[in-house]
Symmetry: C2
Subunit: 236 residues, 2 copies
């Protein structure tokens, strides 16, 4: 019995260490989102370059986390809920890596957009979207660490808000392009960025869904309607 407790707590210590890395990675990804959106709105090319460079650190952390998680599995041979917990670490680091990639892709377009005249308040609207995505990310990670299913469900609900912001922007960009063809290139880039932020929300939702699954053992209602309407309704 003592032996078993010993093994259990060794696993818990290992898990905590990997989860601490997840939190560190999450913090870097939050910074990346915020700075990418800021660099876009303020046309701050050095800040954008910083975001692009930081993505390498994020990618390295993901690889480390996966290796450490694999080491824990090999060493402790966890089963049942312990195995699910350690596997979720890999899933979540994968989600974080993708969100980091989207932030990097956003930052890549700062340079090209800075050379064009601004179109409406496009970049400010994108920054508002990014702020929402950043909060969703922070809360989904908090929900994960605290195993808080209620907070996770709240994150899932907020994704619809983000989708609606994206839909509204999509229509706005179409209008700008139709009004003046000189807006087309800038709007194509901004649409691309807005879609990336909307996808960040999807990854936060995926993390939150995992939390719900880990805590309750049940998947959140996957009949949940996707709210990107641009593909089904003809935007006017």
């Amino acid at each position: 019995m003592e032996e078993q407790n010993h093994i259990a707590s060794a696993f818990d210590r290992d898990l905590e260490k990997v989860q601490a890395q997840i939190m560190k990675m999450g913090g870097l990804v939050e910074d990346a989102i915020r700075q990418a959106a800021k660099s876009l709105e303020t046309r701050d090319e050095p800040l954008a370059a910083q975001v692009r460079a930081a993505d390498k650190v994020i990618d390295k952390l993901e690889a480390e986390i996966n290796e450490n998680a694999a080491r824990v599995i090999a060493l402790r041979a966890p089963t049942a809920i312990d195995l699910r917990m350690i596997l979720s670490v890999m899933k979540i680091s994968g989600n974080l890596e993708r969100i980091g990639d989207y932030a990097k892709n956003m930052a890549k377009r700062t340079g090209v957009l800075s050379q064009m005249p601004p179109v409406g308040d496009g970049t400010a609207a994108i920054r508002r979207m990014a702020r929402l995505a950043e909060e969703m990310l922070k809360d989904s990670l908090d929900a994960y660490i605290r195993r808080d299913a209620e907070l996770a469900l709240d994150v899932i609900a907020r994704d619809e808000e983000l989708d609606q912001m994206y839909n509204a922007l999509f229509r706005e960009f179409l209008t700008f392009m139709m009004e003046d063809p000189r807006n087309i290139t800038a709007c194509m880039h901004m649409h691309f960025i807005a879609k990336n932020v909307e996808r960040m929300g999807d990854h936060c939702t995926s993390m939150a869904e995992q939390v719900v699954y880990l805590v309750t053992g049940a998947r959140p209602d996957d009949a949940r309607t996707k709210a990107d309407k641009t593909s089904v309704k003809k935007p006017d």
Copy 2:
């Protein structure tokens, strides 16, 4: 020694079973790419609906594969190369799931694009891109099963070709939009689809990189330049 052989072959049998599921999943994703591109070009809404429905089967298979892989880890406690092999199964099923999602998203736009007058040979060009992505997928899976690093490196090289096709299409869409604002909405949707196909290639590349890592123990040159130029050069 005999005991060890026994354990090793039990693991190999388990691994083979999960890999067979990967191949089945890969076949479904190949079908999804081909049919989504076809439904787009021929404006075949029932075929698009079929692609969307098939995505649920793909998602279910991914969940099954991950559960089976976790079961193998818990049961056999593999280490070293065996552990890497079984973990790669999870990574690859994740890549396949995303590619399937992109095909589904493509099929979602068939309906809305069918209501608009065609723009140039946009959908035919997308279908050519999709054909290349489908071949990359097939070959990356073959490389995985046969542990063929050479074929995997060939897949990685082909991703640049796909990126160049995307870049050319991006410029073409810009031109169409500037020529006639009535083309804008259709081009926005087609650009979105082309970008999704380009991303399929990224996931094939990621699978191929894993094969190289599994076979040679070394990561393929990650200084490899990304060839989506639309974010760095101002398209003319």
